[in-house]
Amino acid sequence: METLQKDFEPVDIAAVCQCSGNSRGFSEPRVAGGQWGHGAMGNAIWTGVRLRDLLEKAGLEQDARRIRFDGLDRPVADTTPDFLKSLSLNDAFGDHVLVAYAMNGEPLPILNGFPLRLVVPGWYATYWVKMLHDLEVLNEEDHTFWMDPAYRIPDNACGCLQPGEKPRHTVPISTMPVRSFITNISNGASISGGPTLVKGIAFDQGYGIDQVLFSLDGGTHWEATTLGKDYGDFSFRLWEIRVFLRPGHQYQLQTLAINRIGESQQLHARWNPDGYLRNAVETVHITTEG
C-alpha cells in the first residue's frame, strides 16, 4: 500500500458504479435474476493509481492480450467458479482505469472492496473487482465463467432481442448507456401542488451529459433543465427544474438525458434475457393534492 501511494502518481476520478442488471425488475416481459429496482448504483470520488502505470512498471511481453483480475474473496464451495474478470490490453491501458485505495478521500470501506479495487469508469460494476490482489497477464482470450457465459449481451447494435428470443452470439457486457432519474419525488407520490423543484441525476459511459429534458405529461412536451456542478464526465450530473403543478391533477414526470455525442435514452425499453443495459425513459406518476 505504501509503495502504491508513494511510488505512483495518485489520480482522482468521480465515477458511477452501476450493476449490469440495475432496474432488471422492470423488464417487460419479466426475466429471471435479482429483481433490482433502480438503486443498484452509486457515485463516488475514487483515488488510486493508473492500472497502466502498474503494468508499465511490471513490463509486459509482446504477446500479452488481456489482463485478468482476482480478488481476495473466495467462492462459497470448491465447485463454484471463482470471481475473475478481465479486460483487453487496450481497455486495461485506458486513461481512467484505476487500482483504487480510497473512496471519497478515505480508505475503501470493506463493503466497497478494501483495501484495493479496480475502478473502470464508464463500465458496468462487474469489472470493478473488489479486494483486488492479483493481476494476471493472458496471451489468449478469457473464457472463465464470469466472462463467458456470465455477464454477456446479444452481439448486435442494441444488445437486445425480441422478447423470448435466445441470443445466437453474445459478447461481454462493457459500457453503460446514458440514463437519468428523478431523485426527489417517488413514483406514486401524492404531493402538494404549486411551485415545485424537481431534482435528479444523469450519467453515461463518460462522454458527459449535454442536456436533460423534462416532461410533465408523459413525454408529449419537453423542456430543458438546469445542469448542476460538473464533477467530470464519468460522474452523476445533477439537474433541476422549477415547475408549477396545479392542485388535484395527475402528472407523468419523465426525464430524457442526452450525452455529448448526441446519444439519448431510449423511449421504449430494450429487452434481453438477463435484463441488462436498461436505459429507457422512466416515468414517475404523481398526484397533486387539493
Binding site: 500500500m1 429471471a32 481476495l72 464451495a77
Partner: protein, 103 residues
Amino acid sequence: MNLGQIAWAGEEIRSLKTFALPPDPMFFQPGPGQEVANTYCLICHSADYIYTQPLHSQEKWQSLVLKMKQAFGCPIPDDQISLLAAYLFGQNSVTLTSSERHP
C-alpha cells in the same frame, strides 16, 4: 489474511467497525421440499430471491436448479433436484402475507 496487519498510510488499523446485516425478509414456507430449499438454496442467496422471481414453468425451475448445480456448484444430490424444482414451482405463485414475510 489478518486485516490488522494491513498497513494504511504506514499505520496499523487499530479498530474495526462492525455492522449488522439486514435480516432476510422471507423464509421458505412449509411443503414437500422445504428442507431441501433451506439446505441448498440458502448457501448462496435468500429465500426472498425465489419469492420475487417472475412466474416460471416447472420445466424452467428444473433448468434453474440444474444451472445452480452445474454452473454455480450447488452440492444438491441428483435425486433431490426434481423435488426441489417442484417445490420452487409451487412456491413461485405464492403471495406471502406480511406476517409470513416477517415471522
